[in-house]
Amino acid sequence: MKVLIADDDPTSRLLLKAMVSKLGHECVVAEDGSSAWEVLASGGIDVLLTDWMMPGVDGPELCRRLRNEVGGGYIYIVLTTGLDHPEDVLEGMSAGADDYLTKPVDRFAVQTRLVAAERVTELHRQLALTQEQLERANLELLERSLTDQLTGLGNRRRMDEDLDRVHARAHRLGRTYGIAIFDIDYFKRYNDHYGHVAGDDALRDVASCIELIVRAGECAYRYGGEEFLVLMPDCGLGDVVSTAADRIRQSVLHAAIPHEARPSTPCVVTVSGGVSCWMPGSQLSAREVVEEADQALYEAKTAGRNRISAAPLGGADLLEAMDALDEPDDERALEVSRSGSPAHT
């Protein structure tokens, strides 16, 4: 152990240092409380043997400071005091000392304290280690509770949390976000034809395709059985959401996972997608934005699958509305032409 001896009396310092060194411990000395505190603050000390009376920072004050200090390892404190003031002992122990020694110190008394110190500091080390492992395990557990075990993507719960956060942020800061929901086409037939193990593999492959394409800041989740959701904060305007969604659709198509049971060409696994977008001024809740994307997905399915469909926005087509927002000058021109010639509307 590394032992710090704080004493303003040079004979006591020498005596204690010789005793502690003889017991095989490393020894550092300080001539008063202030320099002791500096040594303690620089770390690495296991045991503090401190005199009660010292000019400046005294023993009890050192104890209080050490015990109020958070973090770092546990430092075992032994106060050395004269026998003439037994009430000092109680005050010192209350201030945070673990034990005390009466002066003049006896070699075996020092040895006894250091044996206890070794055990206690080791216990504290073990405790800190266990605490750390527990915290890490908790973090892992939390991470696992938010992850879909099959695909490694975020699960429904993580999606709910992230969506609420992104929605609130967009609302507060006047930002946009987009949502794309994908569903694997004819997945029931795939399972029936290839079996559920192969079905799981296909889910994993599609998840990988999606993960490869999503950009930094965007997040992909397993939304349902064979449904995936991609959340795009600050998706920008224009047809960004639809374009991004279509890149994912193409990525799955080009992965060319055979699907012999698919009733129409291509005979590979494909996805259909529905997209929606939230923009400042919209009254829609986050759930309603998801619902819109879901509705659009349904349209993509009925329109023949392996395609992306966008949710309408306030009566206008989503893509058109976003185009308009993207180029404000054109938007104004559009409005002028609309109000100028009602026949166009």
Partner: protein
């Protein structure tokens, strides 16, 4: 307190010798430190008594008490303890007179000399 007894507790000297397995370096080092601080301490005690400074005197007596005990100078440590206690009482009462410090100081001077002679025989001055 008899002046015929050994001014140094030999068991404490044995302890100091055992610290470096009888080589005596640790003992010599501690004795050397003690010589310096105790002679200085004696001069301080005399001056503080003359100047009537019980606070400073109590502090000096306390330091001499601890260091003397480390060397096994039990009787000297005892006189120092009494001096310290006396000075604290004077400090508490607020009197600037060291009423009966004379007798205590005399005992201190006698015991101090005995200890220094014993230490000289134990570890010759370098």
């Amino acid at each position: 307190m008899s002046t015929t007894t050994d001014p140094l507790d030999r068991s404490q000297i044995e302890l100091l010798l055992s610290l470096d397995d009888g080589a005596g370096d640790a003992l010599a080092e501690i004795v050397e430190e003690y010589r310096q601080m105790s002679w200085q301490g004696r001069d301080d005690l005399r001056r503080e008594r003359r100047e009537g400074d019980p606070t400073a005197l109590a502090h000096t007596a306390h330091a001499l008490k601890g260091a003397s005990a480390n060397l096994g100078a039990k009787d000297l440590a005892q006189v120092c303890a009494e001096l310290e206690m006396h000075a604290r009482q004077v400090e508490l009462v607020g009197s600037d007179e060291f009423a009966d410090a004379g007798a205590l100081m005399e005992r201190f001077e006698v015991e101090f000399t005995r200890v220094q002679v014993a230490l000289m025989l134990l570890v010759p001055e370098r």
